[in-house]
């Protein structure tokens, strides 16, 4: 037996993770009354079965698609980048109920666009301002759709 590489390695890792999750899922159905437990039990079980199949396939695969090779430094940089993107959105989500949508969105748009390399800065400011005004006009003014309001606005 050989150790899988590339896409096959990725698939076998996914399969193992899903297997673990579905085992937990199967267990979680034990606390439900029988009639409500049956369907989730089948589904978790089916997911577990498919993950076994996926693992089996990926281990058996001899020729596999090569994923783009990157060195360790770039890999870390990439992970950091993704983490920052997730973090920025998370920050926005946390701020919305506190500051209200428009204030939070203003801050978020400026920071995230700047981080993503949108230049010159007046373009960032222009887009932020434009988007906020457009959203305000569209949702609050014309359509009467509620958006979260908070401390400032």
């Amino acid at each position: 037996m050989h150790f899988p590489k590339g896409a096959a390695a990725r698939d076998s890792v996914s399969a193992l993770v899903i297997m673990a999750v579905s085992a937990g899922g199967v267990y979680s159905t034990f606390e439900f009354p029988q009639r409500a437990a049956a369907w989730p039990l089948y589904m978790w079980g089916l997911l577990a079965a498919f993950s076994v199949l996926l693992l089996f396939n990926s281990l058996r695969q001899t020729v596999t698609e090569q994923l783009a090779q990157v060195d360790k430094a770039e890999r870390n940089a990439r992970i950091k980048r993704i983490a920052i993107n997730v973090g920025l959105i998370l920050g926005f989500v946390i701020l919305v109920p506190i500051l209200g949508f428009f204030t939070a969105a203003g801050i978020y748009l400026v920071i995230h666009m700047s981080y993503l390399g949108i230049r010159p800065y007046w373009l960032v400011a222009l887009v932020t301002g434009g988007v906020l005004i457009a959203f305000y006009m569209m949702f609050e003014f014309f359509l009467g759709v509620l958006v979260p309001h908070g401390l400032i606005f």
Binding site: P33, Q34, R35, A36
Partner: protein, 339 residues
């Protein structure tokens, strides 16, 4: 037509306001300027419709009684089977600025099913009044092997579980009616829940179930698929012409099973000033007896009945709670409520 109606409305209210203008009965009672009416279901639903039809009349009657016209608006707070809306109502400020529609037996059933945040509901809601009971109608499928509802019930008595009954459910007024009927008759059905009235009607029409339990409009929509029908009321439902020919349970199976249906009443959070509650109740009684209101309600397919006001509605609420208590074992046995 519409214009005529509005003019009529304005004229009547002007007349009536004029009559009492001289000395409002409760001129000393301070009415909140804005009143929220919480509806625990979506805009466009039947509870929402009732609130929107009713409130303008009620506002006017409050004005007649106190000399001040409040501005009442409907607030839809749907979710979690009504729990979100009723919880908001029970926790609302007790200054009369919030009233709401409470749906029975749903309020009691949700409380029985899980730890509802508004429990115990009988103590949290002060009854204003009710004039809407959409009675439960029991229908026998035309291709079922039983000739009449009585035959079907006898079969369900002789061989428990052999007769299938479809309805909106679980934990709906229809579901409760199925159990109430079963207990009274000593029969046992196989209850088949559907997620809504429309799917239940569809299943009934396709012949999937022997019997369907629903409300007035479920019957009117599926008339062609039923060969025997009865309404679960002590007397025939006469507010609507199309329902006058439908027999009561007593006439059909020789046994009265009580007054079952979906009820949408008005309540305030318990603890609001007694004077205010009196005004709200009287205004309610006047509004529902207004012929213009009755016309408007029937036009919107709202199933009105003779109103129960104040403590009468409170008594009705207690009866509903007691009925849920009586049937609790069946719900538990069916797996619908955890003990």
């Amino acid at each position: 037509m519409k214009k005529l109606f509005v003019t009529g409305l304005v004229a009547t209210s002007l007349l009536m306001t004029g009559a009492v203008m001289a000395a409002p009965k409760y001129a000393d009672v301070k009415i909140p300027k804005n009143i929220q009416a919480i509806v625990a279901y979506n805009a466009g639903g039947s509870s929402d419709a009732l609130a929107r039809v009713m409130l303008p009349f009620w506002e006017k009657k409050v004005e007649e009684l106190t000399g001040k016209k409040p501005n009442a608006i409907v607030v839809n707070l749907p979710g979690a089977g009504g729990e979100i809306g009723w919880t908001s109502l029970s926790y609302a400020k007790k200054d009369g600025s919030t009233i709401g529609v409470i749906n029975l037996p749903a309020v009691a059933l949700v409380q029985a099913a899980r730890v509802a945040k508004y429990a115990p509901w009988l103590e949290k809601f002060a009854p204003i009044g009710v004039n809407i009971i959409d009675p439960n109608v029991v229908r026998l499928q035309k291709d079922a092997k039983y000739a009449t509802l009585k035959d079907a019930l006898d079969a369900a008595k002789a061989k428990p579980g052999s007769v299938t009954v479809g309805a909106d459910g679980p934990l709906s007024d229809d579901h409760m009616a199925v159990y109430a009927l079963a207990v009274k008759y000593g029969a046992e059905f196989t209850f088949v829940p559907y997620s809504g009235g429309a799917p239940a009607n569809k299943a009934f029409q396709s012949g999937e179930v022997d019997i369907a339990v629903g409300n007035v409009f479920d019957h009117l929509k599926t008339k062609g698929s039923a060969k025997d029908v009865m309404v679960l009321r002590p007397s025939r439902y006469t507010s609507m012409d199309a329902m006058k020919g439908v027999k009561t349970a007593k006439e059909s199976i020789g046994m009265d099973v009580g007054d079952l249906g979906s009820t949408r009443g008005w309540a305030a959070p318990a603890g609001i000033p007694a004077k205010l509650l009196t005004v709200y109740r009287e205004a309610f009684a006047m509004a529902v007896n207004d012929p213009e209101y009755k016309k408007a309600a029937l036009k919107r397919n709202i199933t009105i009945v003779d109103p129960l006001v104040g403590d009468d509605f409170g008594g009705f609420m207690k009866d509903q709670q007691a009925l849920v208590g009586d049937l609790l074992d069946l719900f538990v046995k069916g797996g619908y409520i955890k003990k």
